[in-house]
Symmetry: C2
Subunit: 204 residues, 2 copies
C-alpha cells in the first residue's frame, strides 16, 4: 500500500465517524468532499482495502469503518507509554483522542526525580528504571517521546533496547533508529515555520 494512501486512511476514518449514524451509505464523492481529496483518489485508496464498494450505490459506512480499522491495525488495542512528563507529555496523557482510537496509555515516565510519584490523569509518574520491565511485562510496543531534545536519542535507544517498535517523537531532534523501528516526527515549531513560509510572501 502506498505511503501516501496509508497517511490518508486515518483521515477517511475520521470523516466517516464524524458523519454520524445518519448515512448508512457513502459515495466516494461525498467522502472526497469532507476529506478535501479528489474522489478518484479516494476510490483508488479504498481499492487497496479490497473492493467493498457497490457500483451505482457507494460504500457501506459501517463496513468501511471496519475495513479501515482493520487495515490500520486498530482492531488490536495497542499499549503506549509516554516518556517525558513535561507540559506536552502531561497534556498528551490527558488527551482523550488516543483512547478513542484504540490506544491505551499504560504508563508515564520521567528522568526528573522531583516528578516521580506525581499523579497525572490517574497514572503515577514512574522512574526511567521501571521502563524496561514495564514494557516487557505489558507488551508495550509504542512509545510517545516528549523529552527535551537533548535526551531524546538516548531515551529512544533505551526504548528500542526494551522492545518498543514504534516511536512518536515530539522532541525537536531527529532520531537515528534501525530500519525495523517505525518512527514519526511531529515538530510543532516546524509546522509554524511552514505556515510562515507561505504567509511571508502572500503565497497562500
Amino acid at each position: 500500500m502506498p505511503k501516501a494512501t496509508v497517511e490518508r486512511l486515518p483521515l477517511y476514518l475520521q470523516c466517516l465517524q464524524a458523519m454520524g449514524d445518519v448515512e448508512s451509505t457513502v459515495s466516494s464523492e461525498e467522502l472526497a468532499n469532507t476529506a478535501g481529496v479528489n474522489s478518484a483518489n479516494v476510490r483508488k485508496d479504498l481499492s487497496y482495502l479490497g473492493s467493498h464498494g457497490v457500483r451505482g450505490v457507494g460504500y457501506n459506512r459501517l463496513e468501511l469503518c471496519t475495513q479501515l480499522r482493520r487495515a490500520l491495525g486498530l482492531i488490536e488495542k495497542w499499549s503506549v507509554v509516554i516518556v517525558g512528563v513535561g507540559n506536552l507529555g502531561s497534556a498528551l496523557a490527558k488527551y482523550r483522542g488516543f483512547d478513542a482510537s484504540g490506544f491505551n496509555v499504560v504508563g508515564l515516565y520521567d528522568a526528573d526525580p522531583a516528578k516521580l510519584g506525581h499523579p497525572v490523569d490517574g497514572h503515577y509518574v514512574k522512574s526511567m528504571d521501571d521502563l524496561e520491565l514495564d514494557i516487557k511485562e505489558h507488551d508495550v510496543s509504542m512509545a510517545i517521546l516528549t523529552t527535551p531534545a537533548a535526551a531524546a536519542q538516548s531515551v529512544a535507544d533505551l526504548l528500542i533496547e526494551a522492545g518498543i517498535r514504534s516511536i512518536l517523537n515530539f522532541a525537536p531532534s531527529l532520531l537515528k533508529v534501525p530500519d525495523e523501528i517505525n518512527c514519526r516526527q511531529v515538530d510543532l515549531a516546524t509546522e509554524l515555520q511552514i505556515l510562515s513560509y507561505y504567509q511571508a510572501a502572500g503565497r497562500a
Copy 2:
C-alpha cells in the same frame, strides 16, 4: 518552490543549529546525513534559495541559516494567538520552542467563562469576545487552534473574519477555509494510527 522542499527547510535549519558553532562550513553530504535525506536532494532544495554554496568546499553554516530563515519568513517576528486553553492549549502556551524560532504568543482565548482570567505562562486567558479586536490591534496573522473538534470550524471562521491568515489546527476536525488562508492540520491520533498500520503487519 516545491511544497516538499518547503517542508524540509525547517529540518535543515534545525540540523544546522544543532551542529553548534563548531563547524563553520557544511557539505550537502553532512547535512544530508544529519537530516536523513539524500545529498542531491539537499543540494536541489538549497539551490532554490539561490546558489550560496562553494564548489569544493560546501556551504557557510551561519550564512545558510540566515538564508533559510529569510526564505521561511522568520526574519519577521510573527505574533500568534492560541484559541482553546485545554490541556494541549496550555501546554503549547508554555512550549519554549515557538519563541525560539521567531514566534511570539500574544494571547490565549477560551470560550469557557470558568477559565477566564486564569494565568497560563504569564498570560491571562481572555474571552473569545476579545479576539477580533486583539488580532487587529496587535496585527496577529497566525492562530493555533486547540479547541474541541465541535468548536473548531466556527472558531476558524471567526479567526478568518478577524484577519488571521494562517491556522495551525490541532482539533481533530477538518477545516473548510478559503484558498487564501494557510491551514495545517496536526492530528495526534492520526499519527499513532499511521504507526499502528506499519506495526500491525510487521511492515516497518
